[in-house]
Amino acid sequence: MEDKSKEVKPAKKCCGCGFGPFLVGLVLALVIGWSVIPAIKLEEKKQPIQFNHVVHIENAGMACEECHFIREDGSFNGLPNTASCAACHEEAVSESAEEKRFIDEYVKKGREIRNEWLVYQKQPDNVFFSHAVHSLERCANCHTEFETTQQFCNICHLDVASTTTPPVYKENRISTYSVNTMKMPECEACHANPGHYGTTNASNACFVCHK
């Protein structure tokens, strides 16, 4: 007690220990902050069916638009439903175990795959995202950097076209959003950009996106 208070009284020059503790703390915190915490925040989930895009595109020669297209009424058909898969997969067309499982579990039981598929960019209920308006045609007027629609889609979406098994779905334990879900600041990157308004009507008004 006594000597410490002596030591304190001048209270001007630093004690002997130097910057050691500071650095230790700094490094430790950086490690935790950058890697540990983000890691424990995420929960990994598996898709109900290990869908193989490559097979469908290359072997079956399908185009993206056959499954992912904008409907007459302007709404977006993001995922094919069991029925449209069954068009080809009523019976097994390959030896794939996953295909067999799909036919047994979904086609035969009439279970809707669309309701179980984990959407990487899933937006919460209060968001209305219009695929119709975010089209290459409209954006290409100014944004000449995109050649293909696929390229364009990959701005927001994972490039799954070249995957033989679906990427792992990572869900934030706190917000329950997928890591790939665009957050409002990312939307605002364009929407809050005054340059867009007038040419695209992409205002940043609440009711442009929220419902």
Partner: protein, 680 residues
């Protein structure tokens, strides 16, 4: 470790964390977490369809939105010319009624202890089979929806079992049919509201609860273009400024029970104003006078004179009578209404009163409506209850709730008690189910094939198909199919194998394309063509003794069409549509004007007790100058004990204590109650 060392360590840590995204991203995650509460239902996307059908509650053509197989909501069918896309409040709640808690999930059997227990369909069917066999010849059938072609199956089934006791719930339709029959009219009575340019509706709340409401209002929409002049004048005569009165050009107050005197006065005034009429009618008219009516009905004589000249000068006037809650006033008022149309030369004219060809039974043993309407359930029930008639061994009740809808006078409970075995087909658990031995889950209107054929109030032959937009939920089954199956079991051949083919028979009878109408949900309409003027005989009216008007205060019951009907209970969303003037603090509101209240010594917003010959109930007094003097208006449709949380604990059932008298001659029930309200 020294304090300062630790402080430095902590400082370093803080700086480090601040320099990492952990804190900031976590804050955002928290923000998102606070925006999506886990226990609030999430939305489900899916295939989004719009299916056309028709509401079996009130015949409103519908577009039903179905997402991923779930029924989301109902809206009017814009492609349907008959309703012009209009939607009634009741039809708007179809989706909620489909999923309501009050849906009966499985067959229920009443045990010896009076309690109900779930049972299997196999068991239920074997019971039905056994009971029907044993009942041989002593079977009765009660249903409420007269517009359905399925009635042919039910009446045929009844007949094939050697009985003719097939009944509809009492209604304006029945009273009018009897009246039309009595004056020698043929076919069924129709009202060409669409083409009339001047309408007098006596009692009939045709903009909300009488007749083909959706169509009537589509006509109003067309004849009253916003911002332009109306092409149709509407005169409404009734006890209260109700939904029809507020949009009518003139409201003529008429005290309940004096509709006959009012119509008689109109008739006599018309004849005074040298409208040609045969001697029999002139003689009849001489019984009435405007002055007398002014006293008895409480109507302003000047207004009546204006009305009469309006009818006289109109090109296509139309007069009809009815009630606000679709019950019965007896046949006399209808005969007088017919008489007025007759002297105006409006029978079988465009925009007049028309004799529609009576519907031909589709099945050999099905009964004619004219015969069915000749029997009325109230009389039947009373006789059985009083032992004046033998109780049937077996009673089927389909989609009807007499225990709730009919007053103590009808003695329905006593009647049911006397019947050996009672079976109730219902989609929702109602008050009548609770009195029956076997309760069977019936398919809801959106779960079955059915149709709406020329409902009462139509001005032409019209027909709309109902189709299932979703599979029956729980263990519910369409009653039509059930009866057909039962008939099959019993080895009876009704002449049709399933409902669609019955409906197809209807289509063929009308020369309409079944598939097309099934698909489009459109309404088949047949323009009225038989303009031959029938010769009518109004002598029966002479024999009638004019009913003496009530000296006391009269009860006026009305319904809020949003608040459901006796078979649906109060739909979930309707609670918000029931106003403070109808239900407040759990009490039915008794509306009356200040003069009446002063007579009774009551103050506004005061708790009181309403008394009739049949009993009493607590009410809350609210002043409303839109109710005529000496009348107390109370909303019917409250005070349910069946159904679900949205129906119970809401006021009392006024219908229970209303008074029913039998009309001399026709023996039809007449609703008319003297009422007293005392401080409670």
């Amino acid at each position: 470790m020294q304090r300062r060392g630790f402080l430095k360590f902590a400082l370093g840590g803080t700086v480090g964390l601040a320099a990492s995204p952990a804190i900031w991203t976590t804050l955002y995650d928290l923000a998102y977490w606070t925006q999506n509460w886990g226990w609030i239902p999430r939305l489900q996307n899916g295939e989004d369809l719009s299916v056309a059908t028709v509401s079996k509650l009130d015949g409103t053509p519908l577009k039903v939105r179905v997402v991923d197989g779930r029924v989301i909501n109902t809206s009017g069918n814009k492609d349907n010319a008959y309703s012009a896309g209009g939607l009634t409040p009741l039809a708007a709640s179809e989706a909620q009624l489909l999923y309501a808690e009050s849906r009966i999930k499985r067959p229920l059997k009443r045990g010896p202890d009076g309690g109900y227990a779930y049972t299997s369909w196999e068991d239920a069917e074997s019971i039905l089979k056994k009971k029907t066999r044993n009942a041989q010849g002593s079977l009765a059938f009660l249903t409420s929806d007269s517009s359905s072609s399925l009635n042919d199956i039910f009446s045929a089934f009844t007949a094939e079992n050697g009985s003719r006791d097939f009944f509809f719930m009492p209604s304006d339709e029945q009273a009018a049919a009897v009246a039309w029959n009595t004056v020698g009219g043929s076919g069924s009575l129709g009202y060409d509201i669409a083409n009339s340019d001047c309408i007098l509706a006596v009692g009939a709340n045709f903009m909300d609860s009488w007749g083909t409401v959706a169509h009537n209002r589509a006509v109003f929409k067309e004849t009253h273009p916003t911002g332009e002049n109306a092409e149709q004048a509407i005169y409404y005569a009734g006890a209260m400024q109700n939904n029809t009165a507020v949009v009518a050009d003139t409201w003529l107050p008429v005290k309940p029970g004096t509709e006959e005197i009012f119509l008689g006065a109109v008739l006599s005034e018309l004849i005074k104003n040298n409208i040609m009429a045969d001697s029999s009618l002139s003689a009849l008219a001489s019984r009435y006078s405007i002055e007398e009516a002014g006293k008895a009905c409480g109507t302003d004589t000047e207004q009546m004179k204006k009305l009469v000249s309006a009818l006289k000068n109109a090109n296509r006037p139309l007069v009809f009578a009815g009630t606000t809650e679709g019950q019965s006033l007896g046949s006399t008022v209808h005969m007088l209404a017919i008489a007025i149309n007759a002297v105006l030369g409006r029978i079988n004219q465009d925009g007049g009163m028309v004799a529609l060809p009576e519907r031909e039974p589709l099945l050999p043993s099905a009964q004619r409506y004219s015969d069915i309407f000749a029997r009325n359930f109230v009389a039947y029930s009373m006789q059985i209850a009083n032992g004046m008639a033998n109780a049937p061994k077996l009673l089927f009740i389909n989609d009807a709730n007499p225990v709730y809808a009919l007053s103590k006078d009808a003695q329905v409970k006593e009647c049911l008690a006397k019947i050996d075995y009672t079976v109730c087909f219902a989609a929702h658990w109602n008050e009548t189910c609770a009195e029956c031995d076997l309760v069977l889950p019936a398919a809801h209107g959106l779960e079955r094939f059915d149709d709406v054929y020329t409902p009462y109030g139509s001005g032409n032959i019209n027909w709309t198909l109902a189709k299932p937009v979703t599979a029956p939920r729980y263990q519910a089954r369409p009653v039509g199919e059930l009866i057909l199956a039962l008939a099959d079991e019993l080895g009876l051949s009704l002449g049709v194998n399933d409902i669609p083919s019955l409906l197809e028979m209807r289509a063929n009878a009308l020369h309409a394309d079944f598939k097309e109408y099934l698909e489009s949900g459109d309404t088949y309409q047949e323009a009225f063509h038989d303009f031959s003027v029938p010769t009518l005989n109004f002598m029966p009216l002479h024999s009638k003794q004019a009913k003496a008007p009530l000296s006391e205060i009269a009860l006026h019951t009305y319904i809020n069409s949003a608040a459901g009907n006796p078979s649906t209970g109060i739909p979930p969303y309707a609670n918000r549509a029931i106003t403070e003037y109808q239900l407040q603090d759990g009490l039915c509101v008794a509306q009356m004007n200040k003069a009446t209240a002063q007579k009774l010594g009551l103050a506004d917003k005061q708790k009181a007790v309403l008394e009739t010959k049949n009993g009493s109930m607590p009410v809350l007094v609210r002043f409303y100058e839109g109710v005529m003097p000496d009348v107390v208006a109370v909303m019917a449709g409250l005070g349910h004990t069946g159904f679900d949380r949205f129906s119970v604990n809401k006021g009392n059932n006024i219908l229970e204590i209303t008074q029913i008298d039998m009309e001399a001659g026709s023996d039809l029930p007449v609703w008319l109650s003297a009422v007293n309200v005392v401080k409670g």
